[in-house]
Amino acid sequence: MAYSHTVCGTRYVFPSLKVLLAKASPPRAGDRLAGIAAASAEENVAAKLTLADVSLKAILAEPLILYEDDDVTRLILDRHDTRAFAAIASMTVGEFRDYLLSHATSSETLATLAPAITPEIAAAVSKLMRNQDLILAARKCRVVTRFRNTLGLPGTMAVRLQPNHPTDDLSGITAAIADGLMYGCGDACIGINPASDQPARVEAMLRMLDDLIRRYEIPTQSCVLCHVTTALDLMARGVPTDLVFQSIGGTEATNRSFGITLDLLREANEAARSLRRGTVGENVMYFETGQGSALSAGAHHGVDQQTCEARAYAVARAFDPLLVNTVVGFIGPEYLYDGKEILRAALEDHFCGKLMGLPMGVDVCYTNHAEADQDDMDVVLTALAAAGVTYIMGVPGADDVMLGYQSTSFHDALYVREAFGLKRAPEFEGWLERMAITDAAGQLLLPSPSHRLIAEVQAAANENEHAP
């Protein structure tokens, strides 16, 4: 269906909802690269004006990618909660923005509404929102998940401890884990990106993490971020697996390029749940996403990159994940050019994920060929903390020596806690105090050189060195 709007005598016509959404998107490199961005600043605002008058019902009635052609579209429509939708069905996108920001709309209402929000609705309304709107609306969304601790409680922010090593050296990884734990990080999970997906290597890492978590009784969960098929094989062989990781995208073809199907994710979710390794809950999936992945795979169907990203969240929520994060600046400047575009995308992704009911974290990050630096990341991190981000990454010194990009550091987490008064997951906070890493208020203590964790990590490393 065609949409149009007249601005100061110029009539702008948008032949479909897909085109309208793309033209209404705040400017970004990936949409320009795909040739679907607004041609002028005025056309961009004309598209927003047009979109503000489109009804939510109309969005539901016009799938961007055909039902017959795409299993993500089928997932979105088949699982849509029409009863919950009734409360907002008569609204336009513009009215929906006002509704989200109204004091009359509570956290409880938004939680009930989540299954009625399709990715296209979330993406559409986000395009009419300023950065501060994305912050306030996301702040109201509460999403709590559990495995060995409780994530997403109000007033908390968690950290994934990311101890990567360029050659998967276990003593190097352990050293980075000890560093992170001593800085009070690791409640979201201890998650290693392996340099190689070889099952034997992944298994060695999983066993090491399992030993560590059991020996110190750390109320957290482990993850080695291998392909879901590798994880399935390892689980079948009895290798201790807490969370199953997978990168996902917002179209069937994107997921195919990742070597996955929805059935495969379902199988992995069931397999990991059946292990019953969680102590306080059974959210076992960990998903990563990022704007630009669909275009990069040639699988975007002309849909703008932010809407494609929101569609990935529909995939995620079908599997009740413990953790979901957008890796916002990793993909490079051809998709998000500079700090301004990365900030915008981070706030959009976090908002859309939360509105749809996901435990949304953000990998606040950039590459060296993007127009961005540590100052930009400070702004992104601060804005996300204000928005109530569920978790961020903790990489030693913000420098991931395996993946070759810059993320947030253990120190960055301390900064956020101090600036915003945010706590860790309560079970983990208690453990840090018992381990004499923090005091009762959650402040880091001055570490003793003979701290048990450090002494034992060093001893284990020495032992490995002398092993035959």
Binding site: I173, N368, H369, G404, Y415, P447
Partner: protein
């Protein structure tokens, strides 16, 4: 500058290149660490934005006995290059004419294209040594080498058109990798059989991390020679050509990479 002590587990720094045991002042990094990070990032940024001195490189290549042609892609400046990978994969018209004029024979076995990619620093620092090492193998294998193309604002796939114009059975693209904080001067080689516009990354083999502290030029050249021989025998490159040369762990060699500069 700053006497904030490192953390008492600083001895663990021997286990990993990661930035651990940095110490802290309050919640924040010590001055020493803020500036050390800033320096590494500045070097990486400079490498991304450095321009390749093509004439200096051409002089070095001619000293090795090679014929050279200089070329550039349709990406006119660095900002365009970074935003528009598609333009970095297309030769501009003048370059296309220059390359056509340089055709010596109808066909050749191998063409070397040296492109700046995301680190002209890597190319300037390591390409001459790598080419010198590769030439030993080219001569030993008796391969017919086409002219060497030195290209600015180049993505990996620019080599497809270059190789096609020169009638090459194989094109080896030597190109600067995306700079990291630890190394801003890492070089890669991508090998493509029967280069044609529109080839995909799955149809290439890659040798990466060629730099001091990574893969030595001699080792990379030996790996490349193995791949060249195998590719000519099997008439294929990419996922169908598994590397069995035993490439070192310190470098990576394989059919695909996560983040090559030409995607």
């Amino acid at each position: 500058m700053s006497d904030v002590p490192r953390d008492p587990w600083k001895h663990l720094r021997a286990r990993t290149p990661a930035r651990i045991a940095l110490g802290r002042t309050g919640a924040s990094l010590p001055t020493r660490e803020v500036l050390s990070f800033a320096l590494a990032h500045a070097q990486a940024r400079d490498a991304v934005h450095a321009r390749l001195d093509r004439s200096a490189l051409a002089v070095q290549m001619r000293a090795l006995g090679l014929d050279t042609v200089v070329a550039e892609s349709e990406a006119r400046d660095r900002a365009t290059y970074l935003r528009r990978p598609d333009l970095g994969r297309q030769l501009d018209d003048r370059s296309r004419e220059r390359i056509k004029a340089a055709v010596q024979n109808e066909t050749c076995d191998l063409v070397l294209m040296i492109g700046d990619g995301l680190s002209a620093t890597a190319v300037a620092s390591h390409a001459p040594a790598l080419v010198e090492a590769v030439l030993l193998h080219v001569n030993a294998l008796g391969l017919k080498l086409g002219p060497t193309v030195i290209a600015e604002s180049a993505r990996v796939a620019l080599g497809d058109e270059v190789g096609e114009l020169l009638g090459a059975r194989l094109v080896a693209v030597l190109i600067g990798e995306r700079p990291g904080l630890t190394a801003a001067d890492s070089l890669s080689v991508y090998l493509t059989y029967l280069p044609r516009r529109g080839r995909t990354d799955a149809e290439r083999n890659c040798i990466s991390n060629i730099r001091p502290g990574g893969l030595a030029p001699e080792v990379a050249a030996a790996n490349l020679a193995w791949l060249v021989k195998a590719a000519l025998a099997m008439q294929v490159t990419g996922v169908a050509l598994k590397d069995r040369s035993g490439g070192g762990l310190e470098g990576t060699i394989g059919a695909t990479v996560l983040d090559e500069p030409g995607r």
